[in-house]
């Protein structure tokens, strides 16, 4: 069963073509990661899917509703945590949540029960009557998530939910995302945090320059890096390592390989020939970040 479906979405802002035909499908109950560099078209895609803006062409369906033709019905079935948004600072946490509940047409009693439950779960119940102006960033974000969840939506759109948060708040939000997925609800997650996406997502789409580069599971994406092992080596002096699949990161080189033994021997030979000391050498599997960077590099 498909929860979110985008088909050839195009969007232009003046001379900038933000989306050049974005298509993907998200299954019900999936945590779907949406990755891309800044300006790639992530937020534009999310805004179209959440009915905030209309595409120039293409179509999108959310929970079976066309986001252009049946915008309000589509919106009723989703919860949204937009990237660039705030709760009302001069309203209390409670007033903010109840405002959203009213806009979703919830009955007062049902909304109050749900609001109490969520505020307790996110550890801000004691501050429910305090104005949001005095909240920390972590508290504000937890409140925003409560607001997104108040209608108990089938699909949740989270745009950078843990960006800039303290460890405790970020972990609380991640745990909640996993909990939501256990209830067979769909989460569409946009994030710059690769570890987070790797940890949470069932599938990931990478968007760059308004086009989907690839859509796959995090593990398959990692295997697309051109090798199953990454060798991380640091030399005593600054040297140019001219090896296939070698990339420089600060004082280290990372070499992606399918034959780690041979590659390590080559690195050691290189160090001997050039008279440089090997400070450290480690092997690790490629991360999602490696895959992400590699795929974007191929695109370039």
């Amino acid at each position: 069963m498909i929860a979110i479906e985008a088909e050839g979405l195009k969007k232009r802002f003046g001379n900038v073509e933000a989306l050049k035909g974005v298509s993907f499908k998200v299954k019900r109950g999936e945590i779907f990661g949406f990755l891309g560099p800044n300006g790639a078209g992530k937020t534009t895609t999310v805004r179209i899917l959440t009915g905030i803006i209309k595409p120039d062409s293409g179509r999108a369906r959310v929970n079976g509703y066309d986001v252009v033709e049946e915008t309000l019905k589509a919106k009723e079935s989703i919860g949204v945590l937009p990237e660039v948004s705030n709760a009302y600072p001069d309203l209390t946490a409670w007033q903010n949540i109840m405002l959203i509940a009213s806009l979703y047409g919830m009955r007062k009693r049902e909304a109050e029960e749900r609001a109490n439950e969520l505020l307790k779960e996110f550890g801000i119940h004691e501050r429910k009557d305090a104005k949001v102006r005095g909240f920390s960033k972590g508290m504000k974000q937890r409140l925003m998530l409560c607001m997104a969840l108040i209608s108990d939506p089938e699909i949740l759109f989270l745009d950078e939910p843990t960006s800039g948060l303290d460890v405790q708040s970020a972990r609380m939000i991640r745990e909640k995302i996993l909990e939501i997925a256990k209830e067979r609800k769909t989460v569409f997650l946009t994030s710059h945090n690769m570890d987070e996406v790797n940890m949470l997502c069932d599938r990931v789409a990478i968007i760059n320059k308004g086009k989907i580069v690839t859509t796959d599971t995090p593990e398959r994406l990692k295997s697309k890096v051109g090798g199953s092992v990454a060798i991380e080596v640091s030399f005593g002096d600054k040297v140019e390592l001219n090896m296939k699949n070698a990339e420089r990161f600060g004082d280290k080189y990372v070499i992606y390989t399918t034959d780690p033994y041979k590659t390590i021997c080559e690195v050691v030979d290189f160090a001997r020939k050039n008279g440089v000391e090997i400070v450290s050498i480690n092997t690790r599997t490629p991360t999602l970040e490696d895959a992400f960077l590699k795929l974007l590099e191929v695109e370039r």
């Binding site: 009915g51 309000l72 919106k75 949204v80 709760a87 600072p89």
Partner: protein, 238 residues
């Protein structure tokens, strides 16, 4: 019901602020005093004028800057992500402004009672209709997509202050030259001032039913334009 939730939010966020309430009372009061002092004018004429100014300034004071404020505070996208239409958002903003305009009208009405004047009850529906009309006008000012409230305030002041002088508040429409009468007919404030004057026992310039019809016409026109313009402007704000 959704527009009432938006109106409640607006009232708490933007209207129930000391400076807004004080400004809503003081501005028309100062204009009134500036006009009254040193002139021998009947008190009922002045109080009717004060009532018109108060309703006009109160109803157009905050509604123009709600959208730029929301954009600046980054609350607009959260609101637009909810299952509400632009029409509902505009209605919510109009309702909050209408309530504020009606509440502020109690000040000149109380002043009238203090001076022993009891206005005709026709003033009550007139206040409601006028506050609605001016609230819709206020919403029109914020259709210009800027996140700077000062820009919107400048646009709104450029329209509001000239309207005060052409609407028969300081000089009755009857006493204006024919070109002045023609200009005054373009202002919705003229018709409310006419009803206010009549409710305080002065002879109106037009039949009251005509004042009501024209005021209602202005309201529909302003509301329809505000909804149409905000549908485009709100998307340009995010």
């Amino acid at each position: 019901m959704k527009c009432l939730a938006i109106a409640k939010k607006d009232i708490i966020m933007y209207y129930l602020k000391g400076p807004v309430v004080i400004f809503g009372i003081l501005l028309p009061l100062f204009l009134f005093l500036a006009f009254w002092i040193g002139r021998d004018l009947p008190l009922n004429f002045l109080i009717a004028g004060l009532l018109s100014m108060t309703v006009f300034f109160a109803s157009t004071s905050v509604s123009p800057v709600i959208a730029p404020w929301e954009e600046q505070m980054r609350t607009l996208e959260r609101l637009l992500a909810c299952p509400v239409s632009t029409t509902t958002i505009v209605f919510g903003d109009v309702i909050s402004s209408l309530i504020f305009g009606i509440c502020m009208s109690f000040v000149p009405l109380l002043l009238a009672f203090c001076f022993g004047f009891v206005p005709d009850p026709v003033v009550i529906p007139a206040i409601i209709l006028a506050a609605f009309c001016f609230s819709c006008l206020g919403l029109l000012f914020s259709a210009y997509p800027t996140n700077l409230p000062s820009t919107v305030m400048m646009i709104s002041s450029l329209v509001r202050f000239p309207l005060i002088f052409i609407s028969g508040i300081f000089i009755p429409v009857q006493e204006l030259p024919s070109w002045g009468k023609a200009i005054s007919m373009l202002s919705p404030l003229t018709y409310f001032t006419d009803i206010a004057r009549a409710s305080f026992g002065m002879s109106p310039f037009l039949f009251l039913y005509l004042d009501f019809i024209i005021l209602a016409g202005f309201s529909i026109g302003f509301l329809a334009s505000a909804i149409k313009l905000h549908k485009r402007a709100l998307l340009n704000r995010i």
